[in-house]
């Protein structure tokens, strides 16, 4: 069992994952949305450029890829594991999709099928890290770090020195064509978030991921074999990264090995800022989506108000710490466990 301290902390949160009348909204749930509104408000006051409609569209478009990555990572974090494989998997799938749809390197023109293969490649790599976790019993921190390196290696192999440029009109269109003012990419990301929410609330996989984060050993005692679900969660996360790699390729019209650079830590940051605990068992896709918006608004707003590029990273780090502190401080108790 979890210690009472943790259980108490959890009990203050009414989880959203079921059709039950909510018993009031707790602070830790409301914190990130409030922070989002506050930060948005601050930037809107500081910069007239920020509060334009086109910039809001821009923020949403910019959040698309991160949102897809965060969807994947949230399930892993919910289990209490961690996933650093996004850069490698995104790189591999980005190059793969660029080589499979119409491009300048070969005569392939598989269209959507190519996209599917790239997503499957991501899923396969994710599956590998899951398998290494449950079979070799290596902590996910290391398996995903290893898989990230493997993914980058595979991507470099496929890259073979010549940039694959995408000429496929469908894939290029995703980034350019708009629907209701937002790029198709953004709608794809919205769809991913919706799928994520549905998986989290209504699928056994999602609920078990949540349960594994809550009390893994109990599942075993209840006759549930945990390992397949862990592998499945990593596979699903891999698929999300694969899709994110495709989206980056669509945005850049080119397959880049570095397509996923930095997305590992930004996705974790987004998820954590949104209220997902690294110890697992708390948070969810909607939390993470709010976190993604928070991070994106910050990045965009700092440029808009003209903060020096040198300082931007620092200010962002400071605000993330402050946001988490603001969410955590009211719950601070004696003898609380913080890792």
């Amino acid at each position: 069992m979890t210690s009472p301290a943790e259980a108490d902390a959890g009990s203050e949160v009414v989880n959203a994952g079921r059709p039950q009348p909510r018993r009031g909204i707790s602070l830790s749930d409301a914190g990130p949305p409030i922070a989002l509104v506050v930060i948005f408000g601050v930037f809107a006051v500081l910069s007239p450029d920020f509060r334009t409609l086109s910039n809001v569209q821009n923020v949403l478009d910019a959040a698309a890829v991160l949102a897809v990555v965060t969807c994947g990572i949230s399930f892993v974090l919910m289990m209490g594991s961690i996933d650093l494989s996004a850069p490698g998997i995104m790189g591999a799938s980005a190059i793969a999709v660029a080589l499979l749809v119409a491009n300048n390197r070969n005569d392939n023109d598989f269209g959507l099928f190519g996209v599917a293969v790239a997503v499957l490649l991501g899923a396969a790599l994710g599956c590998l890290s899951g398998l290494a976790l449950v079979v070799l019993k290596v902590p996910s921190f290391m398996t995903t770090l290893g898989i990230s390196a493997v993914g980058l290696g595979v991507a470099t192999l496929m890259f073979a020195g010549v940039q694959p440029n995408v000429t496929d009109p469908m894939l290029e269109g995703w980034a350019v064509e708009r629907f209701l003012g937002l790029a198709h990419l953004t709608w794809i990301a919205v769809a991913c978030v919706l799928v994520g929410v549905l998986v989290q609330r209504y699928s056994r996989l999602g609920r078990y991921a949540f349960a594994i984060g809550g009390a893994e050993e109990v599942l075993g005692l209840s006759g549930v074999r945990v390992a397949p679900y862990k592998v499945a969660v990593f596979t699903m996360a891999g698929a999300f990264y694969g899709l994110a790699g495709v989206l980056v390729t669509s945005q850049l019209s080119a397959g880049l090995v570095q397509a996923g650079k930095g997305y590992d830590f930004s996705a974790i940051t987004a998820a954590v800022v949104g209220g997902t605990l690294l110890t697992g068992g708390r948070g969810g896709i909607l939390h993470s989506a709010v976190g993604v918006l928070l991070v994106t608004v910050l990045t965009n707003g700092l440029v808009q108000v003209g903060v020096s590029p040198y300082w931007q990273g620092g200010v962002q780090g400071l605000i993330v710490v402050a946001a988490v502190a603001a969410a955590v401080l009211p719950q601070r108790r004696r003898n609380q466990v913080t890792k």
Partner: protein, 330 residues
Amino acid sequence: MSAPALTSPAPDAVVPGRPTVGQRLTAFMPVIALVVLLAALTIADPGFLTLSSLTAAVRTSAPLVVLAAGATLVVLCGGIDLSIAALCSLATVFFALWLPDLGGITTVAIIAATGAIGALQGVAHVLFRIPSFIVTLGGMSIFTAVALVISDAGPVRVVDRDATNWLTLYVGGVVPMAFVVALVLVAAVSLVLRLTPLDSWIRATGYSESAARLAGAPVDRVKIAAFTVSGACAGLAAVMLVSRNFSGSPTMADNLLLPAVAAIVVGGTAITGGHGSLWRSLAGALVVTLLRVGLPIVGVPSAYEQILYGAIIVAAVALTLDRSKVLIIK
């Protein structure tokens, strides 16, 4: 944490309290992994196993050993320090900037300063109860920003090399001084831990923070101390890097973060805290260094090098992790 199915039963009969052969083997796994890797590299390229080549490898590993050793303390307490690399980069800049004014005491000043910065993170962690992952993630970006600003985003040359020259010496003609310093650091910290109550406080904190607190262990102070040492180690690593590169740069050590964490885990220290030691991280850092420099030097092409690196590092952890101490692998 423990559930009925997972705790071993409580046999009342007296079994010997000494570790079994298997346990001893697990304890030496990091070293075994190191030897195996070295053998494999030698088979791939017989020229790799020369004195000068090994000397270069251990010299290379020194900053990584120091970084990993410091962060190991934080990991033992159950936390994680993601800021070590950025702090180390910042320290290289500080070093280059301060050297003209401070001269010989710059090294001490740097270690003190980074120790203080580490302590600050520790205080933020225990005082505000922010997870260490977040505090140090924030620290990482803040240190990078500060380093960029004060260095004007460029490298700062170190003209006076006397201050760092001692680190480039060789003890007995073969052992690089930097590595000796790293060894002494690991040995000294290990000794201090063994000889004082710190060891049981740290492990108690890592295994079960609430139990440690209710037993009156100074959990908060231990954690702050761990972060302080981690920061100070980042400073020492920075001095080593400067002695090697003759300059400070705001991004110099940034890429050492993941290798350092990998070194800790490859050494067999549990990332969840409690179980592990500094000497394990030393072995882990050597394994990681051999992988980083060895693979390309024996002629593995860059794409395959990454794939191999990923595979070997997972295999190494699979080998070294003492699963009897960690019930649930996350």
